[in-house]
């Protein structure tokens, strides 16, 4: 890739329509994030149908910008009304809300947007540096490696499940089972369709994602109808503005440490922003000279949580773009969007479709800058979103999910699929399951099946295990899987179980 290529990419990013989509994505993302109950995953799932008629670049720019905006937007309601707008902002509540109660809401909002910006930028830098070499590694992958990669993905998803581990595995394997519905990849025979013609082509990913991520949230939102809303602190005439250089320099180690945690957690499949922000918060508390003051309005607490949850964005895209294993639920949905545009994750994205991929990666820098500017200068406007009545939010989601699912192919079948998955998602959530493993199971299921079929085919069904063990990359993946299987054991031994113990209920 020469300089001209990167100049072309930059030109693409700044095309008027693409620029407009970046602004639109960031603004909508911040609003979605600030609305309690609306998550980044839901926002992208609902708005993805809008991107179908756009160029892949414009669609990806909008979704990436929405992700970045929503990750910060979640902190607005966390700080102002003690309710995290997104699960990733749950740790922000711990110090953000006490700051607001002390009359320092503007300081907390400034810090949340600044740390989100640094976390986001560091995430994109790492994505830019690590994705291309990892994509080249994917060229060494054959069917056995893809099978093992899917198994590793499933194992780590369930191991990091924020709820009961057995249930995490059950949800993941249920997702894989759902993915077997439709045409069998070996002989082309429709399986498990239960005589429903609409299922012959399998379960459409986008409507399924819309249903899984939106309908359970509608039920959560409406459950809060009539509950006493926290009045927001007055932000009238408040100008947030940039922090001083000394302040930024003082918090630079926090930004760096928390961003690294966010990146690593983001890369791990299934471990989302909420885990990252709690881990970073705990780490910051551990490193602090005054850990006892955390929870009383420490600006470092807000900085750590926000830098980590925004760094997750860049991290989550690395395995998604290079190996087809999404790092979190948002990356899973965006992978569905990529596929709709005919782009398959892997080395091809950095060769044949390099222009699209790099336009997307570079647009994430722009998205973070836009998020910073909107955050610093428009935060008081966005704060009003947190006061939207719950029933208005609920009916809005119902409309958007139905119309959005219909828009996928102009077919009511997709709307029924969305509704069916919505009901499934609600039943699972209300019985203590996470829906993220289901989604990742749906994505990883076909990869595992094709990998297994391919392995059996090239090994001629004889000594398959030995055939797999002879391959170095396979051995590495088996090693990773064993480590992932041991994670729950180490977690249960750990006194500081950051995954479960301190996390309050999040929307």
């Amino acid at each position: 890739m020469d300089l001209n290529f990167y100049l072309d990419v930059l030109k693409n990013v700044f095309l008027p329509f693409n620029l407009f989509m970046a602004v639109f994505g960031v603004v909508i993302g911040i609003i979605f994030g600030a609305l309690p109950g609306f998550t980044a995953a839901m926002g992208i799932a609902i708005l993805m149908p809008l991107t179908f008629s756009m160029t892949p670049e414009a669609g990806l720019i909008m979704m990436g910008a929405l992700f970045a905006g929503a990750m910060w937007g979640g902190s607005v309601s966390a700080i102002l009304i003690n309710t995290p707008g997104t699960p990733g902002a749950a740790a922000t509540v711990l110090d953000g809300y006490p700051m607001a109660k002390q009359g320092r809401a503007a300081d907390a909002l400034r810090e949340s947007v600044m740390s989100s910006f640094w976390g986001g930028i560091l995430g994109v830098i790492v994505l830019q540096l690590f994705a291309p070499p990892l994509a080249r590694v994917s060229l060494m992958f054959g069917p056995p490696e893809y099978f093992l990669l899917a198994i590793f993905g499933m194992t780590i998803i369930a191991s990091l499940s924020e709820k009961m581990i057995v249930k995490g595995y059950m949800a993941g394997f249920l997702g894989m089972l759902i993915a077997t519905i439709g045409m069998d990849p070996l002989l082309g025979i429709p399986r498990f369709t239960f005589e429903i013609t609409g299922l012959v082509d399998g379960v459409m990913l986008v409507p399924a994602l819309i249903g899984l991520f939106s309908i359970p949230e509608v039920m959560e939102i409406i459950q809060l109808h009539g509950s006493q809303e926290e009045p927001i602190p007055s932000l009238k005439n408040v100008k947030i503005g940039f922090p001083t250089w000394a302040h930024t320099r003082r918090l630079a180690p926090t930004y760096l440490r928390s961003s690294l945690i966010g990146l690593i957690v983001g890369i791990l499949p299934g471990a989302g922003a909420s885990i990252a922000s709690f881990m970073a918060y705990n780490e910051e508390k551990r490193a602090s000279q005054t850990p006892e003051k955390f929870g009383t309005g420490m600006i470092e607490g807000v900085a750590a949580a926000e830098a980590a949850n925004n760094a997750v964005c860049g991290g989550a895209f690395i395995p998604m773009l290079t190996l087809g294993v999404p790092g979190d639920s948002v990356a899973a949905i965006m992978m569905g969007g990529l596929m709709i545009h005919g782009l398959n994750p892997g080395a091809e994205l950095f060769t044949t479709y390099a222009n699209v991929t790099w336009t997307f990666i570079f647009s994430l820098y722009l998205a973070n800058v836009l998020m910073l500017l909107f955050g610093l200068y428009c935060a008081p406007w966005f704060s009003w979103a947190t006061q939207t009545p719950r029933h208005i939010l609920a009916i809005s989601i119902i409309l958007l999910t139905t119309v959005g699912s219909f828009a996928v192919r102009g077919s009511m079948t997709d709307v029924y699929v969305m509704l069916g998955f919505g009901i499934l998602g609600y039943l699972l959530k209300s019985h203590g399951f996470d829906v993220t493993p289901v989604v990742l199971g749906v994505i990883l299921g076909p990869m595992a099946e094709k990998g297994l079929n391919g392995t059996l085919s090239i090994s001629h069904g004889q000594n398959t295990l030995w055939f797999i063990l002879k391959r170095p990359v396979s051995l590495i993946l088996i090693g990773f899987t064993i480590v992932a299987l041991l994670i729950p054991y180490f977690r249960s031994r750990s006194k500081k179980d950051v995954f479960a113990s301190e996390e309050p209920d999040v929307l």
């Binding site: 008629s53 070996l186 002989l187 409406i222 459950q223 009916i395 139905t402």
Partner: protein, 141 residues
């Protein structure tokens, strides 16, 4: 309000799903269902594990599952989806939003009317005018 352990029930429901898929798998050639049967076997083992060790998280509040606002919302959602292809986008969307707002805010007629009208206009412009995605016209429009 009394807590009950539901994880055992959940594992039984999953077992029923496994049994359904397993039974159905005999309608297909063995090579077509080899992978699904592997998944079913793993799921079955996990179900047994959950049944034997349901854990503390099996206690959830029964009342949180289906409450009046949730039932109303579910009814509106199913009703909207059911009427959408027959009555059409404009009428169904307008009536659903208007009625839903009235159910939760009995006196907000003008507010409900304006929000309903706003949503119809917004979705029409976004999807039909800009994206050329045509919604069902239905019986009335």
């Amino acid at each position: 309000m009394f807590p009950i352990n539901v994880n055992r029930k959940v594992s039984l429901v999953f077992m029923a799903v496994v049994a359904l898929f397993f039974g159905y798998s005999f309608f297909y050639p063995p090579e077509v269902v080899a992978f699904p049967r592997f998944l079913l076997a793993v799921l079955f083992l996990l179900c047994i594990l959950l049944f034997i060790r349901p854990g503390d998280l099996g206690k959830i509040k029964v009342t949180a599952f289906l409450t009046r606002p949730k039932l109303i919302t579910a009814a509106f959602m199913v009703g909207y989806v059911a009427l959408f292809p027959f009555v059409g986008f404009f009428v169904t969307t307008f009536l659903t939003v208007f009625a839903y707002i009235l159910v939760f805010e009995r006196t907000a007629r003008l507010k409900g009317f304006l929000i309903a009208l706003g949503w119809v206009a917004l979705l029409y412009v976004a999807f039909q005018t800009l994206l050329f995605i045509w919604f069902p016209e239905g019986l009335l429009i």
